[in-house]
């Protein structure tokens, strides 16, 4: 059955069902971050690895023409690319190396702020430990075990790999006659009804009917017209547009 009354105002937030990581800001706002799991990070890393390979290949061919000078430059470049590629991209491009950008990821501090020099350097230096004993074995273990998918470098540096936020588009609410709710709704229920209306265009008609039918009886609305009635309630909650 539905909750009869609104929860007390100071009730703690229920832990989310998904992997969202709540960061509380000094303003008392909970910001949800969505940590990225192992597979997507592995793909991002593979892209970066391939890109580095291509860059080094091209540079070495170019430097081969420069002889000895090229060899010196080459080893400096090898050093720079193998140790600094990630750090430079992460710090100068708001936490996104090309691979991460491709996969829609970014690196942030635990508190949600963009990653800085020391944290980025640290997490990339400690990559050496994550690589051990072979092929990111320890990093993988740590990533799978941790609640926000951190590898060892992330734990020590206090960083988090999260999905970048995507721009939202305003959903079109279905046309309906605004109406009052037949029973008082809690805040959660209000949001659920509004979400039902906002997401309706993404759902199949059968699913829409099924979801609405579930609510027909507790909301005391007629089952055959449940969808239209729910949309009406949503319109009513939203107010005149």
């Amino acid at each position: 059955m539905l909750e009869p009354t609104a929860p007390p105002r100071k009730a703690p937030l229920a832990p989310p069902l998904d992997t969202r990581h709540q960061v509380e800001t000094p303003e008392g706002i909970d910001l949800p971050l969505r940590p990225a799991g192992l597979p997507v990070r592995a793909v991002a890393f593979a892209i970066d690895l391939a890109l580095r390979g291509v860059i080094m290949g091209v540079l070495f061919i170019a430097l081969a023409f420069l002889g000895k000078l090229g060899m010196g430059l080459g080893s400096l470049l090898l050093f720079a690319i193998s140790w600094w590629y990630m750090v430079l991209f992460e710090v100068l491009r708001q936490g996104r190396s090309p691979g991460k950008q491709w996969m829609g990821l970014r690196v942030v501090h635990d508190d949600g702020t963009p990653v800085g020099w020391s944290a980025s350097l640290l997490r990339n230096l400690l990559r050496f430990v994550d690589l051990l004993p072979f092929g990111y074995f320890l990093g993988t273990l740590s990533c799978l075990h941790h609640s926000t998918f951190k590898r060892l470098g992330d734990i020590a540096a206090g960083t988090l790999v999260v999905y970048s936020e995507r721009p939202l588009t305003r959903p079109q609410l279905p046309e309906a006659e605004p109406r009052r709710t037949p029973v008082p709704l809690t805040l959660k229920e209000q949001r659920a009804v509004l979400s039902f209306a906002e997401r309706q265009n993404d759902l199949s008609p059968a699913r829409v009917n099924e979801l609405a039918a579930l609510l027909a009886q507790p909301l005391r609305i007629s089952a055959p017209k449940a969808v239209a009635e729910l949309n009406g309630i949503a319109r009513g909650l939203l107010g005149p547009t």
């Binding site: 105002r9 800001t25 303003e27 008392g28 706002i29 910001l31 949800p32 971050l33 002889g67 000895k68 000078l69 060899m71 010196g72 430059l73 080459g74 080893s75 400096l76 090898l78 050093f79 140790w83 708001q94 501090h109 508190d111 949600g112 702020t113 963009p114 800085g116 020099w117 020391s118 350097l121 640290l122 230096l125 400690l126 990559r127 050496f128 430990v129 060892l152 734990i155 020590a156 540096a157 206090g158 936020e165 939202l168 305003r170 959903p171 709704l185 809690t186 805040l187 959660k188 209000q190 949001r191 509004l194 979400s195 906002e198 949503a234 909650l237 939203l238 107010g239 005149p240 547009t241």
Partner: protein, 325 residues
């Protein structure tokens, strides 16, 4: 208040905020965003209201996104690398080394202790070298430091471009070792301790062996100058690693994760100093140590001077309060 009224009332404000965000994120002219913190806090209030009044997910999500972006701009850790670098070199780094003297001492004892002990052992029992270092590497070493060949380190007098090649190689190789020594400290410090001991052992074995077979002059005059920076740097990298490990072994009143993060913040600064040292070392090694036109006596003198310089720098730099300014 109905959601639509709330939205229409604050729409203009949100749009202004979004524009200020755009400007900040692209690092453009930031003089026009003086009201940003205030606008950000108002946005936070709007988000809290929207959540508390059960407004629709779209509104809450988009407000949340704006707040997140604002949070990242308002609370970002801005570092002024250029200005900090000078005070880091002049004061902060030696201060940090002194503040962490326990770990520096432990790492120094491990590294230089094993270096000297193994060096003396190999000098006393020459055949020991073959159980420490593969025979073909020993042969290669003989070729490099053979005093009869009349030059140091390389088979022929090197051109300037070759110095450059070696510079690149030393940077790559030595900083790699230092990073490895540091990072492996995450295994409760055991990794750092191992690399400190192992590197000390190998260097000691080489030094003892070459002194024993009478190549001492070429070897010592070659390594003394850059060794001041290189060996100190390896020891400091180890100290940074040991600090990481110690935070895990004895976190004190913090949780292990928190202790590790704090130790890591300190030790990454040590590693920055180590990189600086190794760059200097690579430069000296490529352009000074390999010079054959300089007499060994001069090299010893300069080398001793550099060792003294490193010691004085780490002990005394940044002691006076106003030194960096």
């Amino acid at each position: 208040m109905k959601q639509s009224l709330f939205e229409s009332r604050h729409k203009a404000e949100w749009e202004r905020f979004a524009m200020a965000l755009e400007r900040l994120e692209h690092g453009k002219d930031t003089t026009q965003v003086s009201g940003f913190p205030k606008a950000y806090r108002r946005l936070c209030q709007h988000l809290a209201l929207a959540q508390e009044r059960g407004y629709s997910s779209f509104l809450i999500d988009s407000l949340q996104q704006q707040v997140l972006r604002g949070h990242q701009q308002l609370y970002r850790h801005r570092s002024h690398l250029g200005a900090n670098l000078l005070s880091f070199v002049l004061a902060d780094f030696p201060r940090l080394v002194r503040a962490e003297w326990r770990f520096v001492l432990a790492a120094g004892l491990l590294f230089f202790g094993s270096l000297i002990a193994v060096g003396v052992l190999v000098y006393a029992f020459p055949e020991l070298i073959y159980s420490l270092i593969p025979a073909d590497q020993v042969r290669e070493m003989h070729g490099m430091y053979d005093p009869v060949a009349g030059h140091l380190g390389r088979p022929v007098e090197r051109a300037a471009s070759e110095d450059w090649v070696m510079f690149g190689y030393y940077v790559m190789h030595n900083i790699g070792i230092a990073f490895q020594t540091f990072a492996s400290g995450l295994f409760l410090g055991v990794g750092s301790a191992f690399f400190l001991f192992y590197n000390g052992m190998v260097i000691g074995a080489v030094a003892g062996h070459l002194s024993d077979i009478g190549y001492g002059q070429t070897f010592w005059s070659f390594v003394i100058a850059h060794g001041a920076f290189e060996l100190t740097a390896i020891a400091l990298a180890g100290a940074a690693g040991l600090r990481l490990g110690w935070a895990l072994i004895a976190p004190g009143r913090l949780s292990r994760g928190e202790a590790l993060q704090r130790a890591a913040r300190k030790s990454v600064l040590l590693v920055c100093g180590v990189m600086l040292f190794l760059l200097i070392a690579a430069f000296i090694e490529a352009y000074w140590s390999s010079k054959t036109s300089v007499t060994p006596a001069t090299k010893y003198l300069v080398g001793a001077g550099l060792w003294a310089l490193v010691a004085v720098y780490l002990t005394f730099a940044g002691r006076t309060r106003h030194a960096p300014e």
